[in-house]
Symmetry: C2
Subunit: 221 residues, 2 copies
């Protein structure tokens, strides 16, 4: 059965997926780039992003970075803040994402936003579609596009939180990173309550850099 999954979300020890003050020079917020060091060191990640091979990364990190790759995922959902630093109504169509014309997707990407915008097609054929109908509408479109493949929730915090709170996420892979950001976008907020307890950690795999935790939704009683 195709699932809704979040892969390789990097969580700071104090609970943030991004630092404060996101902007053109700080896609992950101030200090947030430290969250991604483990993944950008992997061959799986660099390969997907068309970068030269790095030195040897931790094999546990490699294994987790490879998940969600290849043909496993047929569509991605992301929040408008992950898509870019532009806020409010789109003045023009000049912002085309962080990823360049040859992005890592190769499948449709649904962007949650309150501000309608025409579809955007990258040079590699990746189509971004801007969805104003909320997370369930985005999920319906993503499932239709993905067919028998999984749908990925790419991030950021506000987006993952909504799919968690609604109990729609089947799997959530977190890498707990030993840094404190002090402020930013929190993943597990107090309002999650019972929804958070609908999940359990099914795999706990420390590497030399981070601790990977794979969570699955508990079977409904």
């Amino acid at each position: 059965m195709p699932e809704l999954r979040a892969y390789a979300l990097s969580l700071s020890l104090d609970g943030y997926l991004a630092g404060p003050d996101q902007g053109p020079d700080a896609p992950l917020g101030v200090g947030g780039e430290r969250l991604h060091a483990w993944v950008t060191a992997t061959g799986a990640w660099r390969d997907r992003h068309g970068l030269p091979e790095p030195g040897a990364a931790d094999p546990v990190d490699e294994r987790f970075a490879a998940r969600g790759g290849g043909d496993e995922v047929g569509a991605t959902i992301m929040g408008r803040n992950m898509f870019g630093p532009v806020r409010g109504p789109w003045r023009d169509a000049s912002w085309r994402g962080w990823w360049g014309e040859e992005g890592p997707f190769g499948h449709p990407v649904l962007v949650l936003t309150h501000h309608a915008r025409e579809d955007l097609v990258l040079g590699d054929g990746t189509r971004f579609r801007f969805v104003t109908g909320g997370p369930r509408a985005a999920l319906d479109l993503a499932r239709e596009a993905a067919g028998d493949r999984h749908v990925r929730v790419g991030g950021g915090a506000a987006t993952v939180r909504q799919y968690l709170a609604a109990g729609l996420l089947d799997e959530l892979h977190l890498a707990v990173v030993p840094v404190l950001l002090g402020a930013g976008e929190r993943l597990f907020a107090d309002d999650l309550g019972a929804a958070a307890s609908g999940y359990e950690v099914v795999e706990h795999a420390p590497s030399s850099t981070v601790t990977h935790m794979r969570l699955r939704r508990r079977a409904q009683p």
Copy 2:
């Protein structure tokens, strides 16, 4: 130099030191007992609490559980909620702590509270002193009692948070536990901001059960 240290605080993946609804039957809040499974399995902990030796615990867990033991610590500070489940003014002196008459302390214990109470002396000589003057007053009393030994902040969340926010804590050892509690007492709250970034992770030591992170206050610039 004697320091102010918190040892072996067990933090859930979603950021809590205790679950919700603390009470006589749930000292760590509902579901919170899962936080302590790693430490109660260690010889160091069972020895300190006068319990029979367990089977073999993870050696990394043993090493961390042993810290703060012996004569290293000369006084402990804790919050009134960690001391017990009684809330509001003390009706009588019948609550004598969770630890029985032969507790794990063997040194003065300063309890932060808004409600004055006479000193309480356990059968093993441990003296609890109830401090209404706030965290700095408790720290002064603890330092005086500890002499050239360290002062331990035992918990809970509200108490550790105040010493962190004031930049008074020198060291903080956390064990990140792969469970979600969904609600409870949060350690790193959004109001910590700059104070949290005054700390850095100096040791990242995963065991088979938890991930130990030892944080130290950064040198002042």
